[in-house]
Symmetry: C2
Subunit: 282 residues, 2 copies
């Protein structure tokens, strides 16, 4: 089983370790890649191809794991050389993935999305997949991955990722705002105590991690929510939903993170709530 990675960042390097452990032959190309990326590929011990074209020709499974901005171009570049199945795991919209897949001439395409942080220790992150070749892609479960097929339609995996995002980031914004107001009245610790008695067992720990993360990555989160908002507004245009079903929580989540990113400069993740809120106040 030859698995090729277009792009070799955090996602590709993590998956390649699991795949190699389970006996797959993993490839990447160092064509036009930074020294850092080349170093990472060597550290992971994957096979190096001289260019993307030759990798596309030998891969049974070719996974595009580049930056969102590169996703279309890389599909265009390799589209006519792909022999096996082409999987896009990039953080792009359902609309963009459909456009990208149009370049893959053999039509063997899969839309995939990583659900959650890739780096969580001990747990193999869930990958959801959609498209008519998604079942074949899920054969990689025999090679250490955790893939769940959700639909034969391209775009559904990306849609699910955006919906998940709208929930998790919305909760983070609600939490951050409530804790911030609580902090002004010296009630933030009391609020956590109250909530942990009725919410789930690890509420405190997961909430603090959520809040610190959100604040630190506020700018990126605000941009991601803009994408989710576009996607939801697009659903309106397609008349999947009625005109007046405005996604108002998504909209304010994006605005809230924008506000945070513009009013608080964090050089590192804050250690605790107090430190975080002192920064927010300045």
């Amino acid at each position: 089983m030859n698995v090729g990675f277009l792009g070799f960042g955090e996602v590709a390097s993590t998956l390649s370790v699991w795949l190699k452990e389970a006996g797959a032959d993993v490839y990447t190309s160092i064509e036009n890649r930074s020294n850092k990326t080349q170093g990472l590929a060597k550290d992971c011990g994957v096979n190096i191809c001289s260019d993307n074209k030759s990798m596309a020709e030998i891969s049974d499974i070719l996974i595009s794991a580049v930056t969102p901005a590169e996703a279309l171009n890389i599909a265009k570049e390799v589209g006519k050389y792909v022999k096996g199945i082409y999987i896009d795991v990039n953080n792009i919209s359902p609309k963009t993935v459909n456009e990208a897949m149009g370049y893959i001439e053999n039509g063997k395409t899969v839309d995939a999305a990583i659900m959650g942080g890739i780096e969580k220790e001990g747990i193999r992150v869930q990958i959801v997949a959609s498209g008519s070749y998604a079942e074949q892609f899920s054969n990689l479960n025999q090679y250490g991955l955790n893939i769940r097929v959700i639909s034969p339609d391209l775009g559904k995996a990306k849609a699910l990722k955006m919906l998940r995002s709208s929930y998790t980031k919305g909760v983070s914004a609600v939490l951050l705002e409530s804790l911030f107001f609580a902090h002004q009245l010296d009630l933030d610790q009391e609020l956590l105590k109250c909530l942990e008695s009725t919410e789930c067992p690890d509420f405190r720990e997961s909430s603090l991690s959520r809040v610190k993360n959100s604040a630190y990555h506020a700018e990126r989160k605000s941009q991601e929510m803009e994408e989710v908002l576009k996607f939801m507004n697009n659903m309106r245009k397609l008349e999947v939903i009625h005109e007046d079903e405005h996604p108002c929580m998504v909209k304010s989540t994006g605005e809230y993170f924008k506000y945070i990113s513009e009013n608080m400069k964090l050089d590192k993740k804050p250690d605790n709530l107090k430190e975080l809120f002192e920064l927010l106040k300045d």
Copy 2:
């Protein structure tokens, strides 16, 4: 230990059962009360006083558990007769509880708030308390209650309740909106599956209960969020927080519930998501 209840609805009847079991003498007055309330008091086997004045005079602990609209009037009515400690557990703002307590002439006042649903089986709901007599009130923990003192300042308990509300209702709104959009793409069950793999163990059950409850009580929830918004805006005026710290998540949570209540008429709690979203679409 004589404990008197002004008002005898769900809160008073539940607490009185616990107090009686633990050996307290519980009183209420049937003055100006409906037949239903009188019946409930008799069913609980509490002692009946002919009027509020006489109950105020014999109670070591006098608990006001009326409707939010009655909270000020009842304090005014009994204020000069209160001999023991007067506790307000009503769902009112920090500002209103301070006003109500101004009528209690002996000054032995406690601000208290019920944190969560009173009716949850097997668990004694947490009551937070603030004010200089809160510690004395917490002696009722020897009589079966679950009181936690959070501050010597009147108003802090109500503030904490509002902050808790801003979190729990915000999460419900985020969840309802995300699931609604997911439902339009036939991805609501997939979204629940994804989230339950990374959120807490009983995520599915608690989420469904949250969503059905929120939709059914949307109008009341939107009104409660208006109160929270007033409270937070008031914090701004008091310069507890800066002018531009708008509580945007609270604002859109209120607007979202208003939208739900205006666009969906539910005669009963929906049985499942499908039924709920079909109603939302009409």
